[in-house]
Symmetry: C2
Subunit: 525 residues, 2 copies
């Protein structure tokens, strides 16, 4: 390879590790197969008019077809739009329109959403093994593969690392989704640095070339947190679970010898439940993040044999930091620190946690500032076709994340609150995530969200919204909070005056608590 | 950092690991110091007129000053010419002239060579702690540091990854040295990939972020095989030995907790001797290469606790492959295979071992072809100001190494002969390195070189030139070779008709056997 271009990674691995497996139930492939099928697919797509700069939307779970599309579109210099199928239909269609998708490639189970997009984009390819597509006359991916020759299309050599590889729309808690266009170089560097960090730092989820990888993070989330690229780069065995329930995931892990899985804490919770039901341990390296990992879940996972690392990042900054502590007993001090998402910036990433005056906060574990990030993979253009929000977030080569953090003495970045959720009370920050963490320690709290409620005297005060699991007296929660304040875990003035019990806390398409919806519910917007 | 630019690595690490040590006896520094001293130095150099594109020759062993110069010159967009002080004076001066050096920065002990360069380049800076420079009136590096402010020079932000970082002249065994200009991006990618490979593959010299590194490879050899960049990138402790003899190297290793050293086999041999004299083990991870590691040396090292990996590459291709087998007992099969320099290409490197017809040889461990390499860091221009030799070596984006190799069944590249040294006899290749390896197994062979002697019947036949250690009868060598042929280790027709004993085999400046000189000696040129 001459440049950092996605399909050049595959070309190399198809030569160096042709026989290594890619398992995508019920089928099994190798890197040689991936190379051949992607090349044929590229030519098949090309015959349909897809080429340099074409934007192609894909709706699917993690299957071999989706992986093949990554490399086929790369060879054409086309743009892969990884559609977030967890978005509300309205938002999803907005992203199809905003990105300018010319084709929609639709996996099994997404027929209905795809039909809703008919007025915006008519071209369809069906990602299925079925001989007959859901709509007669439209091609399947297998038709295109059968159509195409096995010689790389002429465009492939001309694709440059500064061409756009993919586009994705972030699921903010407010406003319309924001588009991020990733260049080949940016996405590859960012993806590979996740792998390099995990190999160099030997934390809980330490990796090596002998690991077998299974992404449970969907491809639309930064290409399964980079696995679509870093596993082929490594030439390691890859297991793509498709639409597997937790019991099937567990079976795949055991049958295929999976040693590394990425997932959000909710998925880990479900996998552990499946593991309880099936008996046996779960000796697995897990990279997790996206929302806080509770002490209870960490403890359960650890007892089963899970060793984990925590990642901090997002679609608009890509990977920024990963914890480096070994995943010892979660009761240990190092693990406690790590549970507070103490992550170390990846080797090419600069992090500045900046106070109100713009200067970096001291590494004291106390002073709160906003996380600013600079790295080789920040998008030069900011958000796609969104100059206003771009100006707000991307300034002087830095990304202003809106996340609040402290820096621990060892330099780790501990995020105390995400996405401007913190509360400004009497001129001081109250990190809602810390309050949420304490309240969630109560065994009968199913979910909790702390909002900033306007307050005449203090500007804002915290409002705790709690979804109980069974009988719950709010007085128990006040006791819990006051005890935590006595122990120095939170400031006394952080304790909310109002705790409200609700039947159901709304969640976003990404499974995060939907604070915007909650604010509307409480008449705050 | 936005781009892959050397000083941006330092900027990041000065923030993330300011207190980590850089030991350069008799002085001790930190990354914060390196940052400050490099910045002041950049400004001091700038005041003397050194700026974007200036070529600055440096003659020194591995000291903190040399490291500081790497980053100071990077901030100015100037070009660091790493002068090979082992070259014959005539060749050295040729490189000073050919590269267009405007300044010569001279370390202790290199005063005489520097004086010879007076007619070519007059500007001097002396790399010394002495208050008085060797030549009164000329500045020392410490003077420049004292001159300069601690704010980055204005040029620093404008340096691009495609600017030239350094220039070096390779020491071929024939002809004048060839110049290689390395761009920031190329050198950084290549350097970091060595580290990533060692971390991901967990071979003998596996590394992690907790290692302490000491380069015994001089900076002029690809910046100490990348350590000038990859150790600061990692933010790890770095020990720069200066002009340390093997006993002092050993003392440094023990005192500073060094866990990783790179060196050529000859240095390993000397270090082991120092270790024998001082008693005790040598639990050390060693990256070695440049010339073959003999079985005997590997065995001795292993018994002392050394775990090693072998690297294949060169100044004109940078790192290409590193062995991945764990360094078990050298008698084991895996280690035997590794000793044959079975290296696995780095993750971004494509290797094709091509037969005479240009197609890749099968992975059968037998068929010999020429090693062709493609990687993101090959120089776009080939050799500097040398179009003819560039055209010969760099073709269609590939580097034709001239090295002969087979590919083992696992895909490893086993180099059977370097630099077109092999012998073509009756249309078949005879790898001289294999003959040399067998002959060197004799306990009283100090050095051996096998040359291609013109032969009327066969075209060429091998001629073995042997430097004995003590009493040696050539018949013993014939016996040894015949036994090896019986065992299938070499083909019967490879056994040379002529074995000649000499008092001294000439070596090149890099410590390799000087086959060109030997050929002249035997009237072959």
């Amino acid at each position: 390879m001459r440049e950092l271009v996605a399909h050049q990674i595959l070309w190399r691995t198809a030569n160096e590790a042709p026989g290594v497996e890619i398992v995508s139930p019920p089928r099994r492939f190798t890197y040689a197969d991936l190379h051949e099928r992607s090349t044929r697919l590229a030519n098949g797509l090309r015959r349909r008019g897809i080429g340099r700069g074409s934007v192609v939307g894909v709706l699917d779970v993690n299957t071999h077809r989706y992986l093949e599309l990554h490399y086929a579109l790369s060879m054409l210099g086309a743009v892969l739009h990884t559609l977030n199928f967890r978005l509300p239909a309205d938002d999803l269609l907005y992203t199809v329109q905003h990105a300018g998708d010319e084709w929609l490639l639709v996996g099994e189970g997404f027929e209905k959403v795809a039909a809703a997009a008919d007025p915006i984009v008519a071209n369809r390819v069906w990602l299925t093994d079925a001989a007959q597509p859901p709509r007669p006359g439209e091609p399947t991916l297998e038709d295109l593969i059968a159509d195409g020759t096995a010689t790389a299309p002429p465009e492939a050599d001309g694709v440059s690392e500064s061409d756009v590889l993919s586009i994705f729309y972030t699921t903010g808690t407010t406003g319309r989704p924001r588009g991020m266009r990733y260049r080949h170089r940016d996405m590859l560097l960012a993806s590979l640095q996740i792998l390099h960090h995990l190999a160099l730092h030997r934390g809980g989820a330490e990796v090596s070339a002998s690991d077998t990888f299974m992404p449970l993070i969907p491809f639309f989330h930064i290409h399964a947190w980079g696995t679509a690229f870093f596993v082929p780069y490594l030439g390691a065995k890859l297991v793509l679970p498709g639409r597997a329930d937790p019991a099937t995931q567990l079976e795949l892990i055991r049958r295929e010898g999976v040693t590394f899985v990425n997932m959000v804490p909710t998925q880990l919770h479900m996998l552990l439940e499946a593991c309880d039901a099936a008996d046996g341990d779960l000796p697995l390296k897990v990279l997790t993040g996206g929302s806080p990992l509770s002490r209870g879940l960490a403890q359960r996972a650890w007892q089963k044999g899970v060793r984990y690392s925590l990642i901090y990042g997002g679609s608009d900054q890509l990977a920024t930091g990963i914890s480096v502590a070994g995943a010892g007993d979660p009761e240990s001090e190092a693990a406690q620190e790590m549970l507070r998402t103490g992550t170390v910036p990846l080797a090419m990433v600069e992090v500045a946690v900046r106070g109100a005056d713009g200067t970096p906060v001291p590494h004291d574990g106390v002073t709160i500032g906003e996380v600013h990030v600079r790295s080789p993979w920040l998008p030069p253009e900011g958000y796609y076709r969104d100059p206003e929000r771009s100006r707000e977030a991307y300034r002087d080569g830095w990304f202003a994340s809106g996340d609040l953090a402290v820096r621990l003495q060892g330099g780790q970045v501990y995020v105390v609150d995400r996405e401007r959720d913190a509360i400004k009370s009497g001129g001081e920050w109250i990190p809602s995530a810390v309050l949420e963490a304490v309240i969630s320690e109560h065994p009968r709290v199913a979910a909790v969200a702390v909002l900033a409620e306007p307050d005449e005297r203090w500007g804002e005060r915290p409002l705790a919204v709690v979804q109980p699991a069974g009988e719950l007296d709010v007085e128990e929660l006040y006791d819990l909070l006051r005890r935590a304040a006595d122990e120095g875990r939170l400031a006394r003035f952080w304790v909310p005056e109002r705790i409200v019990l609700v039947e159901q806390i709304p969640v976003t398409s990404a499974g995060k608590i939907h604070k915007a919806a909650l604010r509307t519910q409480f008449g705050m917007t």
